[in-house]
Symmetry: C2
Subunit: 452 residues, 2 copies
Amino acid sequence: MDLKTLEDRLPAGTVVTDPDILAGYRQDRALDPAAGTPLALVRPQTTAEVSAVLRWASQHGVPVVPRGAGTGLSGGATAQDGALLLSTERMRAITIDPVTRTAVTQPGLLNAEVKRAAAAEGLWYPPDPSSFEICSIGGNAATNAGGLCCVKYGVTTDYILGLEVVLADGTVVRLGGPRLKDSAGLSLTKLFVGSEGTLGVITELTLRLLPAQPPQATVVASFPTVESAGAAILAVTGQLRPSMLEFMDAVAIGAVEDELRMGLDRSAAALLVARSDAPGEFAAAEAAVIEAACTEAGATEVFRTLDPEEGEAFCAARRFAIPAVERKGPLLLEDVGVPLPRLTELVTGIAEIARRRDVLVSVIAHAGDGNTHPLIVHDPNDPDETARANQAFGEIMDLAIALGGTITGEHGVGRLKKAWLPDQLGPDVMALTQRIKDALDPAGILNPGAVL
Amino acid sequence: MDLKTLEDRLPAGTVVTDPDILAGYRQDRALDPAAGTPLALVRPQTTAEVSAVLRWASQHGVPVVPRGAGTGLSGGATAQDGALLLSTERMRAITIDPVTRTAVTQPGLLNAEVKRAAAAEGLWYPPDPSSFEICSIGGNAATNAGGLCCVKYGVTTDYILGLEVVLADGTVVRLGGPRLKDSAGLSLTKLFVGSEGTLGVITELTLRLLPAQPPQATVVASFPTVESAGAAILAVTGQLRPSMLEFMDAVAIGAVEDELRMGLDRSAAALLVARSDAPGEFAAAEAAVIEAACTEAGATEVFRTLDPEEGEAFCAARRFAIPAVERKGPLLLEDVGVPLPRLTELVTGIAEIARRRDVLVSVIAHAGDGNTHPLIVHDPNDPDETARANQAFGEIMDLAIALGGTITGEHGVGRLKKAWLPDQLGPDVMALTQRIKDALDPAGILNPGAVL
């Protein structure tokens, strides 16, 4: 494929073919070994440039794999042979309007940068993936990313009021805008959220912001069994809306303690970290309710603090769980979720799968909304263990589906989980999905092989 | 068309052809004079029956106009010649799960009934159209309805976690479910919210509920000018998130006072009713902030109360504004919205249009989110006045679009506003909408003539 006609339409330096640079863009954090050899990397800075890329790609039948910061965990940005990798990393403008309490941002900004820009105006962008310091806001929208505060504050789609999207043929559409209410026409904005680059490329986002979050009270509780932690989770969420309710199993506790030496109870089967951001003294009151619920459910140790720094240290410990467990070996990272009453069944079922397949699986979870991240440790140089890890990976998704859950709560389907999507959605919803895909991208050039 | 084959597939009494009964279903509250003569009314009780109706309609090429409680204000449920009217009024089952804090409901239940079922478990379904006592939850989803609390709590789509939908050919799909987080596949659930019966018929909804709303503090303020009220609105929303922030103009104040004799200030140009549901004494503190903002903006009179009944009386007065103004004559009811900083321009521009067209227009508004309901009073027996009212109707939408706004914040496009939809969305978004419509309803049998 002659790239000259593409290069002619774009500013110098936008199209990159240096294999050394391309190598760094072939995979996202899923490290999909099936990554192909891309034709080129394009790094546009404007919507017009994205449109030019897609027009060219459409005309030449060249597939396009969009990517944000490359932190995806499901292989949604895995390079395909002969495809253009379209990175939004240089699209980094943002403006905050404190009056409408909205942000208008290009997709390449990191989630943490959006949060900082909002905070400079006394505002808050809630969604907070654990990777918030390295993941892009465009990628968050493309996967409908979640995070730790979602148990109270909802997910990315709840904060997206408008999008600018470039369609497969290069057409630029503006959907929604800085209006909390808008019933004019189909809800196209929401359709593109979570579409993982298969329907269009997001080039601008209008985000709803909230006033700054009040200081949080924090409760940390250790449990002798997964069941007792599960009972505490239901007792907490049945009484109030925590601003965070996180779970770590024994493996994660040990791994984090190995690294951070915080004095976590290594003998515990489970640890919960819960927070309240109710205003004023209500945070302390809610923390007391959480503490009582944990104690009543059988917690062996409960720690409660109003000190934001101390509380943040425990949140950081929870966020550090994935890298800490990763020290034990490369991970297959799951993202299964179930309706809250089935959470204990899911966690104990995962342990059973781990035993049967003889692999180490650590479970951490956004427990308050039933979204778990089983981390399957395996040695990729050991073919037998890798095979068993892959078997466990599939069986955990099968289990989540059997419990009325989802194969992905917040990471997206990408390429790693698409084999399980039909089992969750069923043939009729898959057919419906395909009809929409075909209507919007008839030639199938947008992120082929992802989701569908 | 022979209805025998349809009747054979459904329980006795489901298909109604009695012209006297049909007459009551030909229009919704928009009273569209262009309503046609339907073939029949069908009142299914189950999803399987809805599926049978659509399968039959598809096979026979018969259009289907779905309707909830018939309270729509945009003609989304206007009968079409030869169409089946599919009323969901008999689909009234609901279950509440306090553990996952969700409701699973059929579409025919009224919004108020959903609220009551949730309240019986100590829970709250926030969206609150002014018509909440007579509008159906299925219709709320079909129009992405709003209400008074949306300024803080968002709109219907923010509370819909899952839907069961019957597609044009009778296929039943289940989308989403009782999971706060689910990134598996396209966001199809959200696509059907606000689709006004043009993509499928909603037969079941999974709703997210919140803990019961705390008691609210209420502030009522009178202003000498629209501009001073507008300044107060921005000053309030810039400092906190009120749980309600409503606007009434002089005409509405007078009309409500005529009926209710509450002692509203008839000399005022505008009235604001604002509430705070912050917990405990924070409600009073927020009410004090609101009061100060109003006073500083030039309010001539401010009343503040913590008494829930007294506060509710002012909300009821605001909700009564539409029927009160309606005593002056039949209304053309608008639903235009703008980004908040343009609200004063919109309201003063509407007054200018009313002057120019010599018609009475009263403006009430969900001011906190920039969503206004201009009420155009006219005598349908006066052709000249009716023509001027219709001119004003269109010019108000033109103005909203020119101010970066929307022709409908919460009522939907239906048939009355569809001529203006292309002006708001532009040709590319209209084409995108049509592609999705064609993909899901290729024969165009679902609510033909609505939206598109």
